[in-house]
């Protein structure tokens, strides 16, 4: 399960796993019984929304129920609204949840007014499965000259994007065509795992880039660094450098939308069971994790760990009622016996993290600042913003310090402080 190799400097490295030569068809989990749709808006009172309990919705129907916002969600099922309630997300985000009681018949009318324009893409596909990064395009202060269609997954064992590039290449080609027409971006590149590079001549992409299988080469900043020769300055994003990353799945779904006239509602999700076995399934957006696990026959027990995402960068869930979202690439279940916990030792300066860091950060020094809450010094002196969020430092930590958690927290806190500092005075 954990394919561990010795790296050049003696540090442990991992490799991304390739799916079997001909990936098995994804198992479709289409009948969630109840789906929960989420809109990125805070829900305070009933009068905010036009939708009420009992309203009927159809698959593919656009719901923009807020009176003072254009935020919307595409219903992934046909049925009746059964509940509306506030839904807390990670890092203090607030969503509004709409529970839909699924009806027996699935009705999916086609969308009529599709045009190959950004406006049209934004109207229907902001939350399409794979989460196309539409908000990066069309910002005059930050022009994009290259769209990178990423056919690799960032985390280990996760194979959703890889599955899509290997099975839906025609849809990707169509999506590239639409994206090019709509965005006017000069170059579209496609990045695929190095070992799969043969056979991508006909996607309509201008450039084809091979990505190494060594973890964490699938991280966008490292793709830019190794495949494009672009070093993103610390604190800047890939978009600041003119590169917008789109997951292969999101591009395929753009293609499918324009091919069929229907907005796709199925997300490719990699299921990782307790033995580390990987299976790609297609699940309607809004399907509760519990329903997917049940359909796949994966049992969970007390003190197991349930993770949205992969083993290195995912998010642990506190219950199985959470749902599949546009960017849910994987669901992982870890047996209670395999759960490792952090310790309260301080850093012993063994240097394993320094030798495993793909961006050459002095993690041993950085973590000393972060433990003390000195986030700004950590960023200035020890390169916090060079971090690409791979989690290898925590993986190898002898003292079992939650280093990656400190780093995420520091980045979050600094972003919050900067946002306050840069916000115009509201007086």
């Amino acid at each position: 399960m954990m394919k561990q190799l010795q790296g050049k400097s003696g540090a442990s490295v991992f490799q991304y796993a390739l799916l079997p030569q001909a990936p098995l068809p994804a198992v479709t989990i289409a009948d969630p019984g109840k789906a929960t749709l989420l809109i990125d808006q805070t829900y305070e009172k009933k009068s905010q929304v036009d939708l009420t309990e009992g309203d009927a919705v159809q698959t593919g129907q656009k719901l923009a129920p807020f009176k003072d916002s254009e935020a919307y969600v595409i219903s992934s099922v046909t049925g009746k609204v059964s509940a509306i309630y506030p839904y807390p997300g990670d890092f203090g985000k607030n969503f509004t949840a709409f529970d839909i009681e699924v009806a027996a018949d699935d009705v999916a009318p086609a969308v009529e007014d599709l045009e190959p324009t950004m406006a049209s893409l934004r109207t229907y596909l902001v939350d399409a499965p794979g989460k196309p990064a539409l908000d990066l395009l069309g910002d005059p202060t930050r022009p994009i000259h290259t769209i990178v269609v990423s056919g690799v997954d960032t985390d280990l064992l996760v194979a959703s994007n890889q599955y899509v590039v290997r099975t839906e290449i025609d849809a990707i080609a169509k999506g590239i065509e639409i994206l090019k027409a709509a965005s006017g971006v000069e170059t579209i590149a496609i990045a695929v795992p190095r070992d799969l590079i043969a056979g991508f001549g006909h996607t309509g992409a201008d450039e084809l880039k091979a990505v190494s299988l060594d973890y964490p080469s699938g991280q966008p900043k490292l793709i830019l660094y190794h495949a494009f020769g672009i070093e993103v300055p610390a604190g800047k994003t890939c978009a600041d450098m003119g590169y917008a990353f789109f997951s292969a799945e999101s591009v395929a779904n753009i293609g499918k939308t324009y091919e069929t006239g229907q907005v796709p509602v199925e997300k490719m999700v990699t299921l990782i069971d307790k033995q580390g076995q990987v299976k790609v399934v297609a699940a309607r957006l809004g399907t509760p994790v519990a329903a997917i696990l049940g359909a796949a026959g994966i049992q969970t027990g007390d003190r197991d760990r349930l993770i949205l995402g992969g083993p290195m960068t995912g998010t642990a869930l506190y219950d199985a009622k959470q749902v599949v979202r546009a960017d849910t690439d994987a669901i992982m279940v870890q047996d209670a016996a395999d759960v490792t916990l952090v310790s309260d030792y301080s850093c012993i300066n063994c240097g394993e993290c320094v030798r495993s860091c793909p961006t050459r950060i002095q993690v041993n020094m950085l973590v000393r600042f972060l433990e003390a809450g000195q986030y700004e010094d950590g960023a200035e002196l020890y390169d916090l913003h060079s971090c690409v969020d791979c989690g290898l430092c925590s993986y190898v930590c002898v003292a079992r310090i939650p280093i990656y958690q400190y780093i995420r927290l520091a980045k979050y806190e600094l972003a919050r402080v900067n946002a306050v500092a840069e916000a115009p005075d509201e007086q």
Binding site: A234, G314, A316, Q334, N349, V396, V398, Q405
Partner: protein, 319 residues
């Protein structure tokens, strides 16, 4: 009671390579065992007494300091026991019980805990306490005086004393094989060359210590001693003699690569090891101490933070 399933929630990553601190400490204790075993064979029950007393005192001191600083009790992680054992390895088998206790207390309390405990010590705790003892009670740290009543099958004069006072000819009797097999006087666990090298190879293979530090130290000892030897063959002993006598090997594998007091980047590790080797020979050959290893370790510990400023440029670092 609620029948609801409870999941464990924590932060990514959810995998760990399984390494941990107790494994490291006990690994180092095992690696030291061959050398300690030969010391016990040579010096008998007094050596057993010193080793046991040192370990017991170290663990007790760790417990007291954990209590005093209101921290988790960490006596079972092996670090205190390792420090006690390392201290015992460096002293003569006849060291009085109170010197052993004072030395071990200094190791754990002054060397380690007043700096903040494991990971926070700027110097190797054992090097600190040994130097304090050397300065305070030089008589007890003198191997010639301490081991005068032993009937040993080999030359019972400390080889470094001979080399220092009488030059190369005086140590001609010590063959490399003798030194490798521990046929020399010295600390309980610091004379058995083969045992220490074996333990060191094990530690490097398990990656509990950094090979860059050990090898650059040994290479530097060899080269520096060779230069001295070539300059004045009569006065200065050859490089192999220096590699296999005194605390050279114990320092190479157990003192110098101690995590907290040594650098982590490649080039700094090489400088650190090489600097310690150079200083060792300098002190041995033209300094006033017979064995300069502990001083060299302490001096390089001091420059460690500076050395680690030599580091590769992080990805995307601007200027």
């Amino acid at each position: 009671m609620s029948s609801k399933k409870m999941f464990i929630v924590s932060h990514a990553p959810f995998w760990h390579n399984g390494s941990n601190i107790p494994e490291r400490c006990y690994g180092m204790i095992w690696a030291a065992m061959p050398a300690v075993a030969l010391g016990i064979v040579q010096y008998g029950m007094p050596a057993v007494g010193v080793v046991c007393l040192a370990i017991a005192t170290a663990v007790l001191a760790e417990w007291l300091m954990n209590r005093a600083t209101k921290r988790t009790i960490t006596i079972t992680d092996g670090n205190a026991a390792l420090l006690g054992l390392l201290f015992a390895m460096l002293v003569p088998a006849t060291t009085p019980w109170w010197v052993v206790m004072v030395g071990t207390l200094l190791t754990v309390i002054i060397g380690l805990h007043i700096f903040g405990g494991l990971g926070a010590n700027p110097f190797h705790p054992v090097a600190v306490s040994m130097m304090m003892l050397t300065v305070s009670w030089p008589a007890f740290m003198d191997f010639n005086a301490a081991l005068v009543n032993y009937e040993l099958s080999f030359n019972a004069v400390y080889p470094l004393t001979l080399a220092k006072n009488l030059g190369t000819a005086a140590v001609a009797d010590f063959t490399t094989l003798d030194l490798l097999l521990g046929r020399q006087v010295g600390g309980i666990g610091s004379t058995f060359g083969l045992g220490l090298i074996g333990g060191g190879l094990y530690l490097m293979a398990k990656r509990y210590i950094r090979w860059e530090i050990c090898l650059s130290f040994l290479a530097s000892i060899f080269i520096t001693a060779l230069i001295f030897h070539m300059a004045a063959p009569d006065r200065f002993a050859g490089p192999l003699f220096h590699l296999l006598t005194g605390y050279t090997l114990v320092a190479a594998f157990f003192l110098l690569p101690e995590s907290s007091s040594s650098p982590v980047n490649f080039i700094p590790m090489l400088i650190y090891g090489a600097g310690a080797g150079f200083l060792t020979i300098l002190i041995r050959n033209i300094g006033s101490y017979h064995d300069g290893v502990l001083l060299a370790v302490l001096l390089m510990n001091i420059v460690n933070p500076l050395l680690d400023k030599i580091r590769p440029k992080a990805l995307g670092k601007v200027a």
